[in-house]
Assembly symmetry: C2
Homo-oligomer: 153 residues x 2
């Protein structure tokens, strides 16, 4: 089809118009695409984010081996939090009224981080060291209600 | 007693010797005094530092009021950690297998911080709100074995 002169003229005008605003348009288009991709990736990250795994371990220790047990637990905890990215927090305490009653409050990034933790050499060393020191062990999986802490502790 | 010429000479020499090294000596003396004072203040701070108060609260909640209880606990915790300098960390969880069984892991700067906490308006409001929701409450004072956490949580 042959274009009429008027059409050609309009086309040329549009071409000029487009050329004039090409750079800002491209920038806007790029920004919109980037924004859309970002939103999708955020949504995707949100939907794929695994919940943290929180657990309370209640341990009763042989009183004759309490100090050895504490030393092994301390070493295991310090190593795990230092070297494992997914071990977020391990807090071990003993009851003042019943010093053989130990509680460990454990926070892992997710269940995979916990699964990786129990396969580490330091965890296996801890388990092996304490196997004859522990009289009972109860593992209680919990969900958070509120977890608040000062920024610097 | 009259000093002999030799003694005077030696005295003068010592005076000159002292004068010659007066500034460095003063600096050294100042540094030693500062260091000693610093060590004493450190020792003093260490000996006077009150231990953190750590407690585990084990709460059984009326199942019919569990959601209301969680909301009240959440509000109480968020307010306490935000406004009280001595409330370092409050972590509340419920057992997945027994959702009415709630545990709060509490860390206060010291016992005075805890005493101040239970006198606050927000704590009294929480206690009043939940008084008919709580079936049992066990407060267990504990001592730390190891408390490790990632720097940024």
């Amino acid at each position: 089809m042959k274009l009429k002169p008027r059409s050609i003229s309009r086309y040329r005008f549009q071409k000029n118009y487009e050329v004039k605003f090409r750079k800002p348009q491209r920038r806007l288009a790029t920004a919109l695409v980037a924004f859309t991709l970002m939103m999708f990736s955020q949504l995707s990250a949100f939907s794929q984010e695994k919940p943290r795994m929180i657990r309370i371990a209640r341990i009763v220790v042989d009183s004759a081996q309490l100090e050895n047990y504490k030393a092994a637990l301390r070493e295991g905890i310090e190593t795990a939090v230092r070297v494992e990215p997914g071990v977020l927090s391990l807090s071990a305490v003993y009851e003042k009224q019943h010093p053989t009653h130990v509680t460990v409050f454990e926070i892992y990034a997710d269940e995979d981080a916990y699964k990786a933790h129990i396969q580490t050499a330091h965890f296996k060393k801890y388990k092996n060291t304490v196997k004859d020191m522990v009289k009972s062990l109860e593992l209680v999986d919990v969900s958070p209600i509120a977890m608040e802490a000062k920024p610097k502790m």
